[in-house]
């Protein structure tokens, strides 16, 4: 079909106003319709556009395609004000992904349910799972010391120690609130919801100190077995709340202080600065 519009071309002044967004809605829409069909006018538009604007737009499109989408928990954290570079570093930690967090949440929920169903006499599942969730999360985020990628991390200005501490904080921040909420639902003395925090916060530095010597996997195994031993051992003759009572909390605090001291000493004596963990 031949209409007059194919012979007609928009003059550059009109196109400039169109590009600047200075046309009224009806004129703007008809210029847009015309440009989408007319090769000559599209070429004119190309000449009128600033190259920088084109470059910026193209870079934005490539960003949208090439930049990996951060995992859901990271997008939430970004909205809450987490700096963008930090989010990139945390996103690569397996235990900060939705799948891991959902898994931790489910196992804690079952432990809570078990305590609830037994009317507070079976606290062991909750006391077992609650402190281990952050410990295992930190171990998974840590990455094995012999991992070949760590050669790069260790020689980057950001530093391996800083990265490990960042991920540790990331795991604690993402796991602890949920665990505290579930702890409130566990029947028993009200202080129980917070009491498990003692061993949880103590076991994390113990794990980090051990991992510096034997790697995170073995360290996580040792810590998990030790804690399971304490909890399961106490179920035989002692009160269900024994593992988190005041006297034991003192022991955990002592362990945490000792572990921090080991980390600090290692940081000071290691031949290579910046490789404390």
């Amino acid at each position: 079909m031949t209409t007059g519009t194919e012979e007609w071309h928009a003059d550059p002044a009109l196109l400039s106003r169109y590009l600047a967004g200075n046309l009224d809605a009806v004129t703007g829409a008809s210029v847009e319709q015309h440009v989408s069909r007319c090769e000559t006018c599209r070429a004119t538009v190309g000449r009128l556009l600033e190259p920088q604007l084109l470059e910026r737009t193209w870079a934005g499109i490539r960003d949208g395609v090439e930049r990996p989408t951060p995992p859901y928990p990271m997008r939430v954290a970004r909205r809450l004000g987490l700096p963008e570079p930090t989010a990139v570093l945390l996103a690569s930690a397996a235990s900060l992904r939705a799948a891991w967090l959902v898994g931790a949440f489910l196992s804690l929920s079952f432990a809570t349910l078990a305590a609830y169903a037994s009317d507070g006499t079976a606290l062991a599942p909750f006391l077992l799972a609650a402190p281990l969730a952050p410990v295992l999360g930190v171990a998974a985020a840590y990455g094995p010391r012999q991992d070949p990628l760590e050669a790069l991390v260790a020689t980057a200005p950001y530093g391996r120690t800083r990265l490990i501490l960042l991920r540790t904080i990331g795991v604690l921040v993402s796991v602890l609130p949920v665990t505290v909420l579930l702890g409130l639902a566990v029947p028993g003395p009200p202080w129980l919801a917070a009491a498990w925090l003692g061993p949880a916060l103590a076991l994390v530095p113990v794990l980090l100190a051990l991992a510096a010597f034997v790697g995170p996997r073995i360290a996580a195994t040792i810590v998990s077995l030790a804690w399971s031993g304490v909890v399961l051992g106490s179920t035989r003759a002692l009160a269900p709340t024994w593992p988190v009572e005041a006297a034991q909390q003192g022991v955990y605090l002592g362990l945490a202080v000792a572990a921090c001291a080991v980390i600090a000493i290692r940081a000071g004596t290691d031949r290579q600065p910046g490789v404390a963990l």
């Binding site: 490539r62 990996p68 990139v88 570093l89 980057a156 600065p273 910046g274």
Partner: protein, 293 residues
């Protein structure tokens, strides 16, 4: 960096792993340009490169990088790391990351905090290694050669003044090697590039200077042409394999390429290659692991 000091200065550097001596009393200095490290497996190439990349410390001797002693303080080692690009010998890649994601991750570790500038830089280095089209492909789907180039790309981030590449040509096909040579020679105009390889052709094509290591000590340090010159008059083409040759092999033409020893009867002198010179330099040491192809 004050005048008169080199980018990399190693003085009497030694390193042991348990009872094994990896490096002994090594004195070397490097400046702008590409230097190749040659040597059999276990010669100490990787140990030397790891020391220069601040990945490990030396047991003895003095290490100065960009005018600083990296073992002195955290601030010193960090200052060196800000101007360092390092490709380790074996680099594990998180398989679920894309090429872009992996390099962006390393870029953040190298303190590229501005998102827009970081994106541009990640694209620049992907372009430089010819992987611009593979930016959004998962690393697990890339070929071995492409993965190696992803590793090389991260070492180019920020145009570092000191670039340490441990076997950058491993797993590359001839066309990719040629591309890499182009990238590296451009880099060598601005930066101090140290690379190790098993391929004497790579050194011949890429490096102005070559260092031959064996048993943790420096056997040769000088221009590539000077190393080749040491083999003049010691390489022949002959009808018989040499009796007391260091190595000899039958070439495609049916004649034998004879390196070292006495000239066999009726032998014609041959133009030595860098490989011939390297084999002669190491003598019997080269035999243990290096077989000419």
């Amino acid at each position: 960096m004050s005048a008169g000091t080199s980018t990399v200065e190693l003085t009497g550097v030694g390193k042991r792993y348990g009872r094994t001596r990896a490096l002994a009393d090594v004195d070397l200095a490097f400046d702008r340009g590409v230097t190749g490290l040659l040597g059999p497996n276990g010669a100490g190439k990787t140990t030397l490169l790891r020391i220069v990349a601040t990945s490990i410390g030396a047991d003895s001797g003095e290490v100065r990088l960009l005018g600083r002693d990296p073992s002195r303080s955290h601030a010193d080692v960090t200052a060196v790391r800000r101007e360092l690009g390092y490709l380790p010998q074996e680099l594990g890649y998180p398989s679920d990351m894309t090429a872009f994601g992996f390099i962006e991750y390393v870029a953040v570790l190298k303190e590229w905090n501005d998102r827009e500038a970081r994106s541009q830089e990640v694209r620049r280095v992907l372009d430089a290694v010819g992987l611009a089209d593979q930016a959004s492909v998962r690393i697990s789907r890339l070929s071995g050669g492409q993965r190696r180039r992803v590793g090389l790309a991260q070492a180019l981030l920020g145009d570092p003044r000191l670039v340490v590449l441990d076997e950058p040509t491993a797993g590359l096909d001839p066309a990719q090697r040629a591309d890499l040579r182009r990238t590296l020679s451009a880099l060598g105009h601005r930066s101090t590039v140290l690379l190790s390889t098993h391929q004497t052709e790579d050194v011949a094509a890429l490096c102005e200077r070559v260092v031959v290591l064996a048993g943790g000590t420096v056997r040769f340090d000088g221009a590539v042409t000077d190393l080749v010159a040491t083999a003049v008059g010691r390489v022949w083409l002959a009808d018989e394999p040499g009796d007391d040759a260091l190595v000899s092999w039958r070439t495609g033409t049916g004649r034998h390429h004879v390196v070292g020893g006495r000239a066999p009867v009726g032998a014609d002198p041959a133009e030595p290659t860098l490989e011939d010179a390297y084999l002669l330099m190491l003598g019997p040491d080269a035999h243990r692991v290096h077989t000419p192809s």
